[in-house]
């Protein structure tokens, strides 16, 4: 069975799955879709109270959580929509122009 990790943009047609079927879940994790971003959220850890409001609002699950604390953004998947900045009650997230965090 052909796995998603074994397929890339250099794979010949003979080695792709029929009709593009995908035989496993969660393959979006492996693909860098963060490069679509034109604005970038910046996380200010010192101002964060870990209220966790930004997490469910993120449309791309791009805010990782570990041991009850949010970590810095997953820039491989963040599209820079700015919803997190909008819902954050504290000055813990600011948006900067451009696709790269300063």
């Amino acid at each position: 069975m052909i796995r998603a990790k074994d397929i890339n943009e250099r794979t010949p047609w003979q080695d792709l799955t029929p009709g593009g079927e995908i035989y496993e879940a969660g393959t979006a994790r492996a693909f860098n879709t963060g490069n679509w971003r034109t604005n970038t959220p910046v996380f200010h850890a010192e101002a964060c109270k870990h209220c966790m409001l930004c997490i469910p609002f993120c449309p791309d699950s791009a805010i990782p959580v570990k041991d009850g604390k949010r970590l810095d953004f997953d820039y491989m998947h963040c599209k820079g929509c700015g919803i997190c900045e909008n819902v954050c009650p504290f000055p813990a997230i600011t948006m900067v122009s451009g696709g790269v965090a300063p």
Partner: protein, 396 residues
């Protein structure tokens, strides 16, 4: 077992013998009787098919796609505008490589609105990636439907199959025919065993994901290769079918073509009328012959070129208008197929029988007369004409 059935009855009976897992059912003339007869089988407990009544053909094909992806053998039946409403889904079924079986009872596409026979519906879907089989009569409609699944479900093919018959002429006329025993049919069809399917517990599966430019072309090449592979599989299945039925099928049927100088190329029930004319002309010493196309997708180009190689003049009879201003779809395929021949016959295209316009033996006698003139004089005249319409001019 001998029986007397209409084409629709024969197809419904074939479906009963197959006992598919799911039917997406929606009525449209002239295919309505197929889901109607099948509903009786369901109600009587003669099949255990999940019979899904839907609100449109777009939905009936969607039901088939979802069910087939889930691992269920799925069937539907439609005609004309019903097929047109499925159009988007026909491509989805083929590109997801889901071997659905569709009984297509050919009827003219609106407009003007018309319920009678021509091939404008399925010819419009000829580039959708479906295998297309065409029947001359009720027996062939039954036989082709039984062969659809063994063709489409083969791993190297994995394409949906459209089994077509002529609306009313075949679908509603009752003919004597031979039916196979149900246990023989079931052994012939076998179990549907896809390698991967949505309900397979061992691994999750995503079907029909978004295909970016970096992958789309590769998947289209896969489909094109599958269609090429289908040619050999269709012949294999025909050989297996001959063992259980005694009836022989190819990609096309050559009728008295061995030494033919003049030939017709056509599809479907008109072949019966044309064969009678070929016999009549042969009695008068005219070397007439007929090629009936049974499989339009994949198109048997090499086989057709071989069949016509020895002829001097041939007429391609199109029962649908392509509005290319350059001839109908069967003509386009035939002329292309002949290009590689060193010595090609003169070739004309006649569009006929649109919207149920009758075609009679005397019509084909006239066509053969025109071919005889072309063969004798080398003067081909107008290449693309229509036959059977009222006109102030007289052509064929």
């Amino acid at each position: 077992m001998s029986s007397r059935l209409s084409g629709n009855e024969a197809v419904a009976y074939a479906l009963k013998q197959i006992n598919p897992d799911v039917m997406g059912a929606f009525p449209i003339t002239p295919s309505t009787e197929i889901p109607e007869y099948f509903a009786n089988y369901v109600a009587n407990g003669e099949v255990n098919t999940e019979y899904v009544t839907v609100e449109s053909e777009h939905s009936s094909m969607s039901v088939c796609i979802a069910a087939q992806a889930a691992g269920a053998r799925s069937v539907s039946a439609t005609s004309s505008c019903g097929l047109a409403l499925m159009y988007e889904l026909l491509y989805v079924a083929a590109s997801c490589r889901l071997p659905i079986t569709l009984a297509c009872v050919n009827r003219a596409l609106t407009g003007p609105i018309n319920i009678n026979h021509d091939y404008s519906d399925s010819m419009g879907a000829r580039d959708s990636g479906w295998i297309q089989l065409y029947a001359e009569n009720n027996q062939e409609a039954y036989d082709n439907l039984l062969m659809a699944m063994p063709i489409g479900e083969t791993p190297e093919v994995r394409l949906p199959v459209m089994s077509c018959m002529d609306g009313f002429i075949t679908s509603h006329a009752v003919e004597n025919m031979e039916l196979l025993d149900t246990d023989i049919v079931r052994r012939f069809i076998g179990e549907y065993k896809p390698e991967n399917y949505l309900l397979k517990r061992e691994n999750p599966l995503a079907v029909g994901p978004y295909d970016i430019s970096a992958y789309y072309m590769e998947h289209k090449v896969q489909e094109a290769e599958a269609m090429k592979a289908a040619k050999a599989r269709i012949l294999e299945v025909a050989a297996e079918f001959e063992k259980i039925s005694g009836r022989r099928y190819g990609l096309l049927e050559e009728y008295r073509m061995e030494d033919a100088h003049l030939a017709l190329v056509l599809i479907g029930s008109s072949a019966g009328t044309a064969k009678a004319v070929v016999d009549q002309l042969r009695e008068n010493g005219v070397k007439a012959g007929l090629v009936k196309i049974r499989v339009f997708r994949p198109f048997p180009g090499e086989e057709l070129a071989r069949a016509l190689a020895g002829t001097r003049a041939a007429a391609v009879m199109d029962k649908s208008e392509g509005f290319s201003a350059n001839g109908g779809p069967l003509f386009a395929e035939t002329r292309s197929a002949l290009y590689d021949l060193k010595d090609r016959p003169y070739l004309i295209n006649i569009v006929y029988g649109l919207g149920g316009r009758d075609v009679k033996t005397e019509d084909f006698v006239k066509v053969f007369g025109r071919l005889a003139d072309i063969a004798a004089t080398g003067d081909i005249g107008p290449v693309y004409t229509h036959m059977g319409q009222r006109s102030k001019e007289e052509i064929a």
